[in-house]
């Protein structure tokens, strides 16, 4: 098993871990963390392929994605915080105001 394959398997494992986490957990913070895991899994595969094809642009893109992810989490965490203050819970099942 060469290095590229190993890294891709790792990327898959990270993504799956995050996916399952988002699906089965109800805690808003854990779900956010799992989403980060999925994102990082995808980024890992991006870096791997960039290295393999010897292109710098892939590596540069990764930094952009990090910035976006940081901004996203900077917004998401205060939202979760505000929600938690209202209902004193982090369970996303407590929120269904958008029900049609």
């Amino acid at each position: 098993m060469d290095r590229t394959q190993l890294l891709l398997w790792l990327s898959f494992a990270l993504f799956s871990l995050g996916f399952v986490g988002v699906m089965i957990r109800r805690n808003a913070l854990v779900m956010l963390m799992c989403m980060e895991l999925m994102l990082n899994g995808v980024i890992l595969s991006l870096v791997t392929f960039a290295e393999r094809s010897a292109m710098l642009s892939g590596a540069v893109l990764v930094f952009l994605v990090f910035v976006v992810a940081a901004a996203e989490i900077a917004i998401a965490i205060p939202i979760v915080l505000l929600l938690a203050r209202r209902r004193r819970t982090l369970d996303v099942g407590a929120w269904s105001e958008l029900r049609g």
Binding site: R26, V92, E97, L98, R99, G100
Partner: protein, 655 residues
């Protein structure tokens, strides 16, 4: 050289000024604009008439602007001024101006003074468009426009539902006729590709008649004329049109608008000359109208309605003359009638003012000594109407009767008897009204007491005595009385037997009525002297004598006749039940149809299926997809991931 456009535009300016600014600028402004512009139009007409003489019998043609261009055909707003339209324009602006002046007196206390003059000017504008239009289309625009103005003026006092309804009745009845007019116009355009009077008439006059049935076109156009000129069976609107102000009745419903149908048929004379069927149809309709509408005038008690039925009957006379190919005689009668009938209406208006807006002739009587000018002018009008020798009505009516007698159409014999009996009837109802209004016992104090005719007026102080009306009212009466006396005598020779109309009216050699009439004619004086030996004169005299005997000497006799022949009386007072018949068939039919369309079509299909149906469909679909919107974030996340998987799978398969 835009004289014709000027004639038409002047009243339009009056309408715009009075309609938009009138209520703000006050009464004197409205009076000056409302009366001044029609008078200016009249002067312009006289000038144009002078130019016509210079043009040696040729018509003046003037194009104002191009209205629309369709393919290679352009509809021009163009004016056509030959002797026929010149005569009509003179009548319209001349009589119209007098009636405008009269109106300033009649309507002086009306709160909607400016609106009234705006409408009156609007009417004049459309009427001039009608008579001056070069093509049938422009004529039709005027035709519809005068209908609109008539509707607005009949319903002028629209606060009264009965008057508003009378306006609607006139408008709707005219639409029936207009449908015929439109169809006739379509056929002419289909066959000839043009609607210009000169081109159409030249085509129908040519050696090869156009490939269209002249009978069909003629009858269709005449159906339009039955609506506008109130011939049976579309006459029902005219008596109700008396709901409008009296000057309106004089201007629109006696002197000008109702003669539009007569004018149109005379204008299209080459077409009618091709078809004996159409002429016979016209003659029968005219004869029935002339006689049977006259009968109705004998029992009416409303002063304006008597004059209205008289108008219907006289329009019938004109129509009969058209049917006999005596177009110039019809237009001649149209002209004399415009003067004496406008005079009679305005005199009736003067009487109505004097007796404080009571229109029932049973509560008048003896007005002769209180209003001498109205009395003498009414007498002149009535004498002219019944055809007293040397007065204007005599020449035109006598010529009509002679023309019908000479005519060789199958219907002419019947029509001859109808117009002959009509003479007696006309004399009877005219003088019944005249005697009841101006002679006999003074009954005008009973009007307010409602009813008791035997009741001698104890309350002489009640309501005050009638007095003569101001000069703005009597002035036009005198101005109309002069032509009522003399115009027939003066113009019969050039108009009927001279070359006045030139090529404007065409009579085929197959119908030599005018030629034979000319052979019997030995000057206007001889005709008047000869009258004493003719049947119509004695019939008219008998009518006057009988009405004098009935209503001055023995008022008990008409009452007895009324009781004896109750059925006939009720038939006449109910106007042969035309209104009831129409309301039973057409009005209820239309209501039934409308109700069905409303319930089935509108409520079920439009509202039920289309409007509410589509809303229900959307609602049902929404209920279905609403289930997906649980509001739980993990459901959305799950759906999104499934979607991403599906997309990726699809993308992978694609490569």
């Amino acid at each position: 050289m835009n004289l014709l456009t000027l004639i038409v535009v002047l009243p339009l300016t009056g309408f715009l000024l009075n309609g938009l600014l009138g209520p703000r600028l006050g009464k004197s402004f409205v009076t000056v604009v409302g009366c001044g512009l029609p008078v200016l139009a009249f002067l312009a007409t006289i000038r144009a008439f002078g130019q016509l003489d210079g043009a040696a019998g040729l018509a003046l043609v003037e194009s104002a602007y191009t209205w629309a261009v369709v393919g290679d055909f352009s509809f021009d707003i163009a004016f056509y001024f030959d002797r026929l339209s010149a005569l009509m324009t003179l009548i319209v602006t001349g009589v119209g101006s007098l009636i405008h002046i009269y109106s300033t007196g009649y309507m002086k206390d009306d709160p909607s003074y400016a609106r009234y003059f705006a409408y009156l000017n609007l009417f004049l504008f459309f009427m001039l468009l009608l008579v001056l239009g070069r093509s049938l289309l422009v004529c039709f625009v005027g035709w519809e426009g005068v209908g609109l103005a008539s509707y607005l003026l009949i319903g002028f006092w629209f606060e009264d539902p009965a008057k508003a309804a009378a306006g609607k009745k006139a408008f709707i009845t005219n639409r029936v006729g207009d449908a015929g007019f439109l169809l006739g116009m379509f056929l002419i355009y289909y066959a000839l590709g043009t609607l210009d009077f000169d081109a159409v008439n030249a085509a129908f006059q040519g050696p090869v008649p156009p490939a269209v049935s002249a009978s069909l076109v003629g009858v269709l156009l005449f159906i339009g004329a039955t609506g506008k000129s109130a011939q049976i069976p579309l006459h029902v609107w005219l008596p109700d049109a008396m709901a409008g102000p009296t000057p309106v009745s004089a201007l629109i419903h006696a002197a000008t608008m109702v003669t539009a149908g007569i004018f149109m048929v005379a204008r299209m004379s080459p077409l009618y000359e091709l078809s004996d069927t159409a002429l016979g149809f016209i003659m029968v309709i005219g004869a029935i109208t002339a006689l049977f509408m006259g009968f109705l005038g004998m029992v009416q008690n409303d002063i304006k309605r008597v004059v209205a039925y008289s108008t219907l009957s006289q329009l019938g006379y004109m129509t009969v003359a058209l049917g006999a190919s005596a177009y110039s005689v019809a237009v001649f009668h149209l002209m004399t009638h415009a003067f004496f009938k406008a005079l009679l209406f305005l005199a009736a208006g003067s009487v109505i003012i004097a007796v404080h807006h009571n229109q029932d002739i049973r509560y008048m009587g003896g007005l002769k000594k209180y209003m001498p000018i109205t009395w003498i002018t009414s007498l002149i009008g009535s004498l002219a109407l019944i055809g007293t020798p040397f007065l204007s009505g005599f020449y035109s009516k006598e010529s009509i009767i002679e023309a019908v007698k000479i005519s060789h159409l199958p219907a002419a014999h019947l029509a001859y008897w109808a117009v002959l009996i009509g003479v007696f009837v006309t004399a009877f109802y005219s003088f019944r009204m005249y005697f009841l209004v101006f002679h006999g016992k003074e009954r005008f104090h009973q009007g307010h007491a409602h009813g008791n005719e035997d009741d001698v007026h104890h309350d002489a102080h009640h309501g005050g005595t009638p007095h003569e009306t101001p000069w703005v009212i009597t002035g036009p009466l005198l101005a109309l009385a002069l032509p009522s006396l003399a115009i027939g005598y003066m113009t019969i020779e050039p108009m009927l037997f001279g070359d006045f109309f030139g090529s404007a009216i065409y009579v085929a050699d197959r119908h030599p009525v005018m030629h034979e009439l000319n052979q019997e004619f030995h000057g206007a004086v001889a005709m008047g002297l000869h009258a004493i030996t003719t049947l119509p004169f004695w019939l008219a005299a008998a009518g006057v004598g009988l009405s004098a005997f009935f209503y001055l000497r023995r008022p008990d006799i008409p009452a007895a006749i009324q009781k004896r022949f109750a059925f006939v009386y009720s038939m006449l007072i109910n106007k042969y039940w035309f209104d009831e018949l129409y309301s039973a068939i057409f009005a209820s039919g239309a209501r039934l149809l409308g109700g069905t369309l409303w319930r089935r079509g509108d409520q079920n299909i439009i509202d039920g299926l289309v409007v509410n149906g589509s809303a229900h469909l959307v609602e049902r679909f929404s209920r279905l997809v609403k289930a997906f919107q649980s509001g739980y974030i993990y459901h959305y996340a799950f759906a999104m991931l499934i979607g991403v998987f599906a997309l990726v799978t699809w993308f992978a398969r694609l490569n």
